[in-house]
Symmetry: D2
Subunit: 350 residues, 4 copies
């Protein structure tokens, strides 16, 4: 049964596996102070055109979010996120467990707007309420959409006006950067963000995310925060070698591009088969609307995720493709759907 | 300048002041183990027709909420509140500071509904999300409305179905109990709530709230929680003597009735003067809609709170009366408004 | 049964009770923004010869400690205390509940030394360990001893060297300031401390402590911290009027002097009766060593606290006197002991 | 430069690397629900002779400690550890960051004793102090010593008497189990511990620890705790395949035995060269006492860790061997020391 369930179903790209194998028995110092990490840091700085940023590696995204947010905020300060923001819904209260409220800001298509942030800040006016101190964005968002430079710029302006940090969760950043409707580049990040992380888990690595700190005020004692939240990997070399590999020869974006191409091929194919989209995306997640009969039939052959019940007979579902997804798998899936429709046109009833 | 700003502008009722004076130099043991506290506990148990409940006294309402919630929940568990619930907005993230997410449930007029709670619980289905474990209600609510027995019963049913604790924030419970449209009695509390607190600060005391624990599972080591959150008052006698006095000769409800009578007199008088209400309440908070010109004029003579901007020229404002509010003050206020209108009928323009 | 159990057995001094009575029905704004608080702030600034310090009032000492420490430290930072420091033992882990480790520094007689602090700091050298960021002192200490200027100066030097905040818990500061062997004055506090609190509960008030912040870096958003930890008293006027009264006409130190005089009279009398002291103090706590037979006999007539078991037959116990303790009570106690000894000389066996 | 600095300098054993390679592109479900994890759970249950225990996999040891302790304790509860216990010193306050105090119990050689635990519990008698609720042990300890069955039995008895959980940190458990002076077996764990973890990072894995929960009361909602603390690895298969491999064909203990053999060979060789030991261990950490001249000379050729300064000229240092350490490396090291001594006998001066 083929899985379009998410983009972390497979292991790592072959380039990473190779380095893992050849370096396995070399001794290195622990906790991210080894030469692989050092080299990876340099590559990332170079890619971001920013010599002065700090780069730290941790295993997973929830860890990044906890560590960055808990490190930056004082106890009474809160972080603003979109209603579907990962920290607001899908991290089991990890941010609250560090003592901070997540405030929901307005926006649409999974994105926050400058205006949405402004409204939250202005509604929090005195010491009986938490004080908003950081904006949290995901790009690509949790529903596969991407921020434009104009949108980021709006958000940055509001952040500057009210003294908020801007933090970008880049679990799927490379997929955003290669999207058709994207105009953001790696070099832009330092101008919009105080801190961000670049996702490895969803783009070719076994695991690992790279936290990049641009704002000097957020750099101090960051390794203490990593350690305190259980994020300092003993064999830190494993994180270093993966990012060192990903940021060599443009591999990171190449893997992302493939993942996005596969999703777009699938989306286009479904549309041609008459399936409409809940939201049309340009990254590696797509959200077709399907008749429940089709879903039930398809679940016997494919793994994908239920997203939202729309009415008695229809549901939005999510298909995700990864860097490892092969073109054949996409085409087979489309062929399978076509045949299912041919056999029983009723399952397409809108 | 007379204040209708809130119900904690004055000190304590004379009965409490008397006991405070006469007992001032008596020595007593500390931390709530004295005979005043003991007597107050007995009176409250009797009033609630429940010998088996535990009663603890703390200084303020935010403390109650922190202590009760942090004591009851495990780290991944969350509490469901109405969107305007005190813990959700006006406690500077005190619940999150103890590690717990506050989830917002649907309802109206400041109240949660059983259906609203059910929707939240059903949306939190796996370990990637927090687990709802408690329902938080305020009665009277933050907007002066009261719960009926039918509404509490609905909520209780959902709590039983999903294994949630029900916690009632009774900062203004006595005002709810004496409200015209109320059908809840002190004896009912044990059937609906696992734990609640009875407010003293807003009903005749200098300060102090009484936490009442009905559910055996929530009783263990509760004094440790009070101490850890800074809520164990050294001279605990002060809390005991106040509640001992309030629960003698029905004083508690008599004070509440007076506060409510004054607000209702004010509300009725305003309506007769042609002022409409944002929401018509039956307790000691009222929410007239006023033309901004009237507000600005009135602010020079009265203290009251801005509540919500409705349009270019109108705003909902809040007037609160306390146990100490005199009938003359209400009548003078109404006379003052009448005169203001007579002098300038324009300030009534809708 | 007369109590020497602690210094919070009685209510408040008559000066405070008077103001409480006369101001009871005056309306005032809430949460410490009233004129009593304002006046009290001014008096404290004047007494401390420091116009620029911030002064906040909260109900109790554990609250002060939680709020000050949680407000000042980042998540990985720790506070250094003496082994018997109140925050280390007697606050049910209130500091840890805010996320911070309490490190124990060397010293003697309940006091920390500069050298003790230095050793702790030097032992915490990298990000695998917490980072010491604050020194916590009690003056008078938990065992009734007082710091000299030389000792405070040593500590300050180490704090400056390593960038640590110095925080003085002054629950019994006035008793220290009037002690015979004390050379510290109110004006010195600003030179030694970044932040401190002046105790009211143990010196004439019903409750209340005044947090005084000297260091600019610790002032920002402090009221948010108070609110978040449940420490913002609705009827804040009650705190203001008490400190306003205490800091008028030198009342605060006069009350402390009386408390100390009574304890010293009791200590001296006991020594003359042949009772030796576990540690000889100059404040309002004394620590006689008693034969267990004497203790058991005396417990039927007096309340006092067991302190430390010394051998099979002897124990150190604690007697505390308050501002309200009358000379007659001390003399009667001494007479009672004398008679007990006369009746049964064996109870004095060493 | 050869490293004896720790036991996590190399990658993984070849058996693990093989499975990693062959399974790399297989799709699997995320978050530890895959078939590798399922198989690994079964193998561990079988090895421990306990079908009913729950087994969860997380990436690192600090994570295990945070998750287990925060999941088990209520806010006012504390955990007792030896003074050098990893959670007490080397986790940057991770336990306190979850709100819990770490209490230090007496013992020796890095071990806690039943008597030491009893003293701590008895000293914590009321709600002004934290309540001890769990005992934390490391076996092997942080100084390479191992617990005997008699010692664990003593501890268990005290735990039962006072209702404490017993938690064993088994980061180096396999090294303890193969030690010459050990009499504990895998099957014994369920009788002594409520919960423990079996270390992978230090015994052949790239990373990963297996939490094993025996006590029914600690099992509920454990996956929520893992997720909340950032410990739920997306590609959970990586953890499963490693433990599945380690618990096949006794590989886990074989790797541990090799590590221990190498350390013992090095210890024995050093003793024969006239070097005395700070503490003689039977596991894979050894603690020779060296003249500072020898240390400085040796640091140019070997990596090892400074442990404790003993006097002007001597220091205890730590050498650790891993599963990957080759016999040749040990012998070369001994030969190197011998030659150093031959060239300059002074560096052996005691």
């Amino acid at each position: 049964m083929y899985s379009f369930n998410n983009d972390y179903s497979e292991g790592a790209c072959s380039e990473i596996i190779n380095v893992l194998n050849t370096s396995n028995l070399c001794q290195s110092v622990g906790y991210g102070l080894d030469e692989y990490c050092e080299s990876a840091r340099k590559r990332i700085q170079k890619q971001l055109h920013c010599d002065s940023c700090d780069v730290h590696f941790v295993v997973g995204g929830t860890q990044c979010n906890q560590i960055v947010i808990a490190s930056a905020l004082r106890p009474h300060e809160a972080v603003i996120a979109a209603i579907g923001g990962h920290i607001n819904v899908h991290e089991t209260g990890a941010i609250e467990a560090c003592g901070h409220k997540v405030l929901v800001g307005d926006g649409s298509d999974g994105k926050l707007t400058g205006e949405g942030v402004r409204k939250v800040v202005e509604a929090h006016s005195d010491e009986h309420m938490v004080k908003p101190a950081m904006v949290y964005l995901s790009d690509a968002t949790e529903v596969g959409t991407v921020y434009t430079k104009a949108e980021l710029s709006d958000l940055r302006k509001v952040c500057d006006e009210y003294g908020l940090y801007m933090y970008l969760d880049g679990a799927r950043l490379p997929m955003a950067l290669v999207a058709e409707d994207n105009d953001v580049k790696f070099d832009d990040l330092q101008h919009y963000c105080d801190v961000c992380y670049l996702g490895g888990t969803k783009c070719g690595a076994l695991f690992g995310e790279a936290v990049v700190i641009f704002n000097e005020a957020l750099k101090k004692d960051f390794r203490y925060q990593i350690k305190q939240r259980g994020g300092l990997l003993a064999k830190g070399r494993l994180l270093g070698l993966q990012f060192d590999t990903l940021f060599k020869d443009d591999l990171y974006l190449r893997l992302a591009r493939h993942a996005v191409d596969m999703a777009q091929r699938l989306q286009q194919g479904m549309i041609e088969l008459g399936i409409s989209m809940y939201v049309t995306t340009t990254t590696n997640q797509i959200f077709p609307i399907m008749n429940r009969d089709l879903i039930q039939h398809m679940e016997k052959h494919y793994l994908f995720q239920s997203w939202e019940r729309l009415d008695e007979t229809h549901e939005a579902v999510r298909f995700v493709t990864s860097w490892a997804c092969e073109e054949e798998a996409v085409d087979e899936c489309l062929a399978w759907i076509k045949q299912a429709i041919d056999e029983n046109p009723d399952i397409m009833k809108q």
